[in-house]
């Protein structure tokens, strides 16, 4: 550990790094510098062990069987529901629906809630910096119901123009769907303010917490949001599992989304009655071990604590911003005053994909592209950006390596 990682850094990066076996695997013969955690995070040992233990030694189906393996799996599965409940301070575990990811969580709301609650002339308000997962489902729900999609604009730093809420929020607004943390820009949005202003107009609020969930504490009761969605694979958990939080009294008004086993009360060929929430929304055999692994992941986050995580990532962000700002011809995309863990940029005369490929050869994994946020790219007038996104296991050395490699790209392209 060199001096640079310890300054102002309350979290032992070396210790954290030792929890992630992926970081020990060289990439193109170089030590891996993983800077794509906004796409998906690496997995810590406790999560790997849970997955292995459950698939290998304690595997059984959930909910329906009376034998020990299944009762234990069911208990572990429902324990994760309680862990999630605590993780976001939900009022009850009945408000926690397991899905396959943020995308499915939002689709569930857009379909089940949207198609029963939206009417022609109603409005759905999203922000200008949403991920496609929080745009397209609303476009389709609006198309299906005759509602209108409205866009809350942002400024050139990537900050939402909340003053526009005065006119955009009105009696026709049924739902505001907004990201807590932009995956393309790093902006932390004022979701508390948005929630209270939307509620004042009688509108519900859905928070896309896909990025937030791994970086900052969430308290759905303090926020008073109506829905909140996140993915397991972005919070150090397995793929194929996600969470939808919904206020129980709202979930109760919603028809099933998918149908099949488990979500029913009684089936006859003439008529089917559906189970209570949250199971009503969990048709079919769930991602049993992945849900249990998500529990481990959230406990792992808890064991570090968001205060530590926040301080560490703040330090990294400041350090990285300083480094990149010194690079001539580099322009940061996303410079909000409130920002977290994401450094997106463009280099004059060098396309993001070329940067991505060249950095990869240096063992540095960054993301190059539109980050599933094409309207955001369009707003900034770029086809793609390069994005380094940070997590608990990143160090200042990772950012040093990034800056050095960018310098070399510039040299290569100038030559």
């Amino acid at each position: 550990m060199t001096a640079s990682t310890t300054t102002n850094d309350p979290l032992s990066v070396e210790e954290i790094r030792s929890d992630f076996p992926s970081l020990t695997v060289p990439m193109h013969g170089k030590p891996l510098v993983y800077l794509d955690s906004a796409a998906t995070t690496l997995k810590p040992r406790p999560v790997l062990e849970t997955i292995q233990e459950f698939y290998g030694h304690r595997y059984g189906t959930v909910r329906r069987a009376v034998y020990g393996l299944s009762e234990q799996a069911t208990a572990a599965f429902e324990r994760t529901r309680k862990t999630v409940t605590r993780f976001i301070n939900a009022p009850t575990s009945r408000s926690i629906v397991f899905t396959k990811g943020t995308t499915e969580s939002i689709n569930l709301v857009a379909s089940s809630w949207g198609k029963t609650h939206l009417r022609p002339g109603d409005e759905v308000l999203i922000s200008a910096m949403e991920h496609h997962a929080n745009i397209v489902p609303w476009q389709l729900a609006c198309e299906a119901t005759g509602a209108q999609l409205r866009i809350l604009p942002m400024n050139s730093s990537g900050e939402l123009l909340t003053e526009e809420l005065d006119t955009l929020l009105n009696k026709r607004t049924r739902l505001v769907a907004v990201t807590g943390l932009s995956n393309a820009l790093g902006t932390i949005n004022p979701i508390q303010e948005i929630c209270s202003r939307a509620h004042a107009q009688g509108s519900l609020v859905l928070i896309d917490a896909a990025q937030m969930a791994g970086h900052m504490a969430i308290d759905v009761q303090a926020l008073d949001c109506d829905f909140l969605a996140f993915s397991g694979h972005k919070v150090f958990g397995p793929c194929g599992v996600g969470v939808l939080y919904g206020k129980p009294e709202i979930l109760e008004t919603m028809p099933p989304y998918q149908s099949g086993g488990d979500m029913i009360r009684e089936v006859t060929f003439e008529k089917t009655t559906f189970a209570d929430i949250p199971v009503r929304f969990e048709a079919g055999t769930p991602a049993i071990v992945e849900v249990i692994g998500l529990g481990s992941a959230l406990e792992y986050i808890h064991s570090i604590g968001f205060e530590q995580i926040g301080a560490h990532e703040k330090d990294l962000l400041r350090y990285g911003t300083d480094l990149l700002e010194q690079i001539p011809k580099l322009r940061l995309i996303g410079t909000a005053a409130h920002k977290s863990s994401i450094l997106a940029f463009i280099l004059e005369d060098v396309h993001a994909h070329d940067i991505g490929t060249i950095l990869d050869q240096a063992g540095i994994a960054i993301r190059a592209g539109h980050h599933c946020a094409q309207p955001t790219m369009k707003f900034f007038g770029v086809a793609a950006t390069s994005r380094a996104s940070l997590s608990i296991y990143n160090s200042r050395e990772d950012l040093d390596a990034l800056a050095l490699a960018i310098d070399e790209v510039i040299t290569l392209f100038r030559s």
Binding site: V350, H351, A352, H353, D354, T357, I358, Q361, A362, A368, G369, H370, Q374, M377, V382, A383, A384, A405, E408, V409, L412, F413, S415
Partner: protein
Amino acid sequence: MSFDLYQQVILDHNRKPRNCGALEGHTHTCHGHNPLCGDDYTVYLKVTNEQIEQVTFEGNGCAISKASASMMTQSLQGKNIDQAQALFEEFHQMVLGNLDAESTETQLGKLKIFQGVRAFPSRVKCASLSWHAMHTALTQKEDEVSTE
């Protein structure tokens, strides 16, 4: 840090693309677009009696796609349609990794420099975008091609 893919020839074509600009009086054209990375090119051809008289391209994208478009225009000059389509096939198979341009007799010439791209699956489409556009323009199936 320089390696196989970003050779000087490619960097040079990226900086100073040849035959760049719209072509008045073209007989064939096709717009090629890769929404994934934003690569966006239009290829123009002037063909008389099956003979390609002139090829230009217009657009923007990464160094690989731009150098590829630029070098394509050079290598098509003076070829006839069948030769152009055959060259497309060779180029395409080379970047997909199905044809070893080092050990096989081909018409690829300088284009062999793009062989390195086969080690980068996500970049194969960059190298082949303008070629797909050219191929489609000559086949005249549509005037829009998209690779993802």
